[in-house]
Assembly symmetry: C2
Homo-oligomer: 422 residues x 2
């Protein structure tokens, strides 16, 4: 069956994560984890689901870009697309008028990712396979049994109190986690205290990573991270501007004697940038993102380049659906490319999975290979309706805005006073 | 007077330039030169006009982004903005949620440019000065008398016939032009023929530049340009991906023995990228763009870096309004930064100026310093209304779409037959 794409729908789905400081870091202090969520309808009734991850405001701009790309997708059959996928990719990224808006970066590339993710999901569903299996077309036993190693970012967001850090670390250790990431970069003394606290909690044999989310200049990154060397971080993530390849190279060189690598990639906007990061020895850990690059197509190119340079891939995940999507890619990387788990692990964040029809399965701090057909992009219809930012008139949306409004206006304590709960 | 900004309007202005192949090159075969056009209203009645240039499709996405930024601008006074312009710049580019969509690149950065261009225009008008004069605060006599040297791109768009090339070169020579740019990159034999033709027309003492608009891979660029060395081009512009700093460095190194420099910048998305291009000796001509970078603020940073590295700045212009805007910046560069005209010139393209209230003045192939207050962004209201893509119901808009539709459906000859004009 050819599965002709007859319609493309896109929704603006927002989750009010900023209310509890989930996801907060030095640069993104109040993210509302959100998605531009794409559904492809075909004449056969089969659907493809895709998304790209956003932080709330501006998601409507990505929707606008998805709509601008829709005309290039509707009317094409799946068969037509996959028989010349390179051509289709170029069609989306090289339109003579729209490429000016990137090219292959920012809003227009996020939209490309959302659309192509849906196409890949459709293809995998058409084959009755989860995407990773479509990719590897065979399964190694180890992955099915033990899964792919994960690390957790959920214990130490920047906005959490020390008490929260301790409690979350303690819970995570009990669940088998041995790899932890801490957000840093806003205040050096706070960072030293928090990192010491966590290193104490997890012990010397567990792995600790730190993440500055681009907060520093090059020289500042080197001096700041040097001060944190005592807690023996495996890597410093996003020490400076994601565009500054040569800056990352300077930081890598300076921190190598301390045994600290540089990790980056979640805002590395395309394969050309990754190529140079690898050429310049500017990173020691490649963090691909399933929704920023041009879907599976461009991510595969980066996996292969990373292998050529013998740099481990440790994907960026979390966000909305990023864990669900990227697990397919990292399984492919292990089974077909690297065949190596040394210094390799996939990020995990423990929220918003409940909105997906096939949420990730974590066992003993490992991603268990998904078995449902597709690219794991499909959200529960109820979740989409509840968080659709465009359905402003609905009850739930008003509730969402109401709470945001109240929190903006009044500190929590005052709010408690007002409502007579003191 | 504080000039409080009370409203921000944005229009989607499109000109059907693709009908006659103006602006066509190896990657952008059918551009409709367009603009997201911003008007700031203040409580004093003074207005600020700004724009960013686009190629037609997708302009609505930039509008959407401008609207998303509007809330950060409305309500602020000009005084408040300029007294802490760095803070205001960061406010626009570092919103914790929206920066995910860039950061500082693509659609969201184009929108930032449009908004900030309007703020700079407003400021210059408030001071009763053209922007460049606001910047330099004094005027060197030479510029007022002779103007800033320009080169022309209007003679040799890729879609023009040899006959057109000859005619346009001949006309340009008569008007005093001595610097010419040719579009290349689609077909090597065509390029050789066209470049020889133009070199023959303009003679050995005139300056010739070639522009591939990112068409090639690195190795391909080197071999292709080597074949064109016989026509002695001063530079090859955009030989490969605008993101590939190290690729440009390799090309620069390979072409240096042939006396051909590398020029790039019109799609260099921010100052961090320019910094690395300079650090890596990856370009020999810096081509700033008034509408891709974050307005005057970010362009000034690049002018200063270029001076530090002693690389001449030869701005990208043409498009919609790019000549009008960038002339202010290059005058500032000459008067306050470089004080040097060797290998320096500003691009000029001869269309769409008639839509501006203060169009550029070219005399003897030089940009004459503008004297009207502001940043020369204001369009004629009639032009905006006539080309507003959102006013679909208007007569002119229908006409625009009708002609496009007809040209898409029928080759010109067939159209002539159909209308009985044969």
């Amino acid at each position: 069956m050819s599965h002709k794409i007859v319609n493309l729908r896109v929704r603006d789905v927002r989750f009010p994560t900023s209310l509890e400081q989930h996801g907060s870091d030095a640069m993104h202090t109040d993210p509302d984890y959100s998605a531009a969520y794409v559904v492809l309808d075909t004449d056969s009734g089969l659907k493809g689901f895709g998304l790209t991850f956003t932080l709330g405001k501006g998601t409507e701009i990505v929707l606008c870009a998805v709509k601008a790309l829709a005309g290039l997708v509707i009317g094409k059959s799946l068969q037509e697309i996959v028989s010349n996928f390179r051509g289709f990719y170029r069609l989306l990224t090289s339109d003579g008028q729209m490429r000016w808006l990137g090219p292959e970066k920012g809003v227009i590339h996020l939209a490309t990712a959302a659309v192509l993710n849906a196409v890949w999901d459709l293809w995998a569903r058409a084959e009755g396979k989860p995407l990773w299996k479509l990719l590897v077309d065979m399964v190694k036993d180890q992955m099915l049994k033990e899964g792919y190693p994960a690390y957790t970012t959920s214990c130490a967001w920047l906005g959490y109190s020390d008490q929260q850090l301790k409690q979350l670390c303690s819970d995570a250790l009990k669940s088998g986690w041995t790899r932890f990431k801490v957000k840093v970069g806003a205040d050096l003394e706070d960072d030293i205290r928090r990192c010491r606290l966590i290193r104490q909690m997890i012990g010397p044999s567990s792995t600790l990573m730190i993440d500055a989310n681009q907060r520093w200049d090059v020289a500042e990154a080197i001096s700041w991270v040097s001060r944190l060397a005592e807690v023996k971080p495996l890597w410093i993530e996003e020490p400076t501007s994601p565009d500054d390849i040569l800056g990352h190279a300077a930081i890598s060189k300076a921190l190598a004697p301390l045994g600290i690598g540089v990790a980056t990639g979640e805002q590395c906007h395309n394969r050309v940038m990754f190529k140079q990061f690898l050429q310049a020895s500017a990173l020691q850990f490649v963090q691909i993102d399933s929704c920023r690059l041009g879907s599976v197509n461009e991510n595969l190119a980066v996996l292969l380049m990373a292998y050529k340079f013998q740099v481990p891939v440790c994907p960026h995940a979390g966000g909305v659906g990023l864990c669900e999507l990227v697990q397919h890619l990292i399984l492919f990387d292990y089974i077909c490319v690297s065949a190596d788990l040394r210094n390799r692990m996939c990020e995990y964040v423990d929220h918003l999975h409940e909105h997906f029809t096939s949420p990730v399965v974590i066992q003993d701090a490992h991603y268990m290979p998904p078995k449902d057909p597709g690219y794991s992009c499909e959200m529960l219809e109820e979740s989409v309706n509840r968080h659709d930012a465009l359905q402003l008139s609905s009850h739930h949306q008003n509730e969402f805005f109401f709470f945001h409004f109240i929190f903006l206006l009044f500190p929590f304590k005052y709010f408690v006073l007002m409502t007579g709960l003191h």
